[in-house]
């Protein structure tokens, strides 16, 4: 299927992109296009102007910065997965990126696009939520703000982004000394997660557990975290995995099935995180 007509400009800088977005209510950023183009094909999205930021090479990087790992929004999933800095300092991020789609998708899709799309079935937002990551957002007149992952993912396809803002960087804490796990359950290799679980444990910080595809946005498994803080073992705590969730029903499984699945996966993720 063919998208509706639109105008296309390749931005030379973030400032130019913001200016173009500010001047046109129907303008949209395109990074990898691997979420946007499928929507345009179905004509669920009909932007009048696409502002292509994919060649802003200075937005593609992974580097240590101020005790955190800073990831440029245009870093491809493939490069996140293969980043030695991330493999060493925050391995859950590199690992989760390696599970997104298939190799060709990972060559094109970006971490910024994954966040800005805010699909609750996406893997990276869940990992960022569990980590307590921060997102850096640039706006008109050189403004810049930092948002926590908990605030950024507001709802279904609703990131905390104005139409003339650009997500420029994702900042994750180093997880040195913490055990971690990301479990993604799907019927066929390369599929989206029916349910996914990110877990971090150890090093004197309370365990963090977050869920993929269990509601309108990535969710912290607050009941599980509370039970663990109260001294419950992983299997007992995992029974509370679906508290406060509203999983979807679709051809892959019912909401009921997802609730049960989330408990099993949380238990396994906690066991894995606590053992490494």
């Amino acid at each position: 299927m063919i998208p509706a007509p639109f105008d296309y400009v390749r931005a030379e800088s973030v400032d130019q992109a913001i200016e173009l977005l500010s001047g046109n209510d129907d303008a949209k950023i395109i990074a990898g296009g691997h979420s946007l183009l499928p929507l345009m094909r179905l004509r669920l999205a009909r932007p009048a102007l696409l502002v292509d930021i994919s060649r802003l090479a200075d937005l593609a990087y992974v580097r240590e910065d101020d005790g955190q790992v800073a990831i440029g929004a245009l870093t491809r999933h493939h490069d996140v997965a293969n980043s030695e800095a991330l493999q060493e300092l925050a391995p859950i991020v590199a690992y989760a990126a390696s599970l997104i789609g298939d190799p060709a998708v990972r060559h094109v899709g970006t971490i910024g696009g994954s966040c800005a799309h805010a699909d609750p079935a996406s893997d990276m937002p869940t990992v960022l939520l569990a980590l307590g990551a921060e997102l850096v957002v640039l706006g008109p007149k050189g403004t810049s703000r930092r948002v926590t992952a908990a605030d950024f993912f507001k709802g279904l396809f609703q990131p905390d982004l104005a139409s003339n803002e650009v997500l420029s960087e994702i900042r994750v804490p180093k997880t040195t000394g913490r055990g971690w796990s990301y479990l993604k359950f799907h019927r066929r290799a390369q599929d989206w997660a029916m349910v996914g679980v990110a877990a971090l444990a150890g090093n004197g910080i309370g365990p963090a557990v977050a869920l993929t595809n269990m509601g309108e946005r990535p969710l912290r498994a607050a009941g599980v975290e509370e039970a663990l803080a109260g001294g419950a073992d992983p299997a007992t705590a995992a029974e509370r995995a679906d508290e406060g969730t509203s999983p979807p029903s679709d051809t892959f499984g019912s909401a009921e099935y997802r609730r049960e699945l989330s408990k099993v996966l949380v238990r396994r993720a906690l066991e894995e995180a606590m053992s490494r």
Binding site: R10, A104, Q190
Partner: protein, 161 residues
């Protein structure tokens, strides 16, 4: 919009609508129909081309995104009338039946061997994991790509074509 793309080593220009998909730019505008369009939903990999040497799905990119870049299609594999080792290997190892998935599979194999001269079965399976084949059951495709690695390394003489 005026674009310029280096296709299989030759600079090509075209005046296209921004909404023209890369797969249609390649097939319809440039007449290179070796790139197949299967699913139209980024799932099957039949439309795989190499963009600056990296496998991508051309059904989910706009042609304008390839402006100023290099695209390699299956037609670009054989150089100077000589088959690429990957093509020789697919022939010798019966890596295809109907051939619909084959251009994508061979380009993925070509890109893999550039990075990894001696891939294991698992490496090959991982590399082709975004490419679906309805015929072969994959075993011969994996064998073919590993065979191509041996041909490239000079470890085995390809049979005369």
């Amino acid at each position: 919009m005026q674009i310029s793309v280096k296709v299989n080593g030759t600079e090509r220009t075209a005046d296209v609508e921004p909404r023209l998909l890369l797969v249609h730019l390649v097939r319809d505008t440039f007449g290179l129909t070796g790139t197949h369009e299967g699913c139209d939903t980024t799932s099957c990999g039949a439309c795989t081309v190499l963009l600056d040497g990296t496998p991508v799905k051309s059904c989910t990119l706009f042609g304008v995104q390839a402006d100023g870049r290099e695209v390699t299609t299956v037609e670009g594999l054989a150089a100077g009338g000589e088959l690429d080792p990957v093509q020789v290997a697919f022939k010798e190892e019966h890596g295809l039946q109907c051939g619909f998935c084959t251009p994508g599979m061979m380009l993925v194999g070509k890109a893999l061997l550039e990075r990894n001269a001696d891939p294991s079965d698992d490496d090959v399976r991982w590399a082709i994991s975004g490419n679906i084949c309805r015929c072969t059951g994959y075993v011969n495709i994996v064998n073919a790509i590993r065979h191509a690695a041996r041909i490239k390394a000079g470890a085995t003489e390809p049979a005369t074509v």
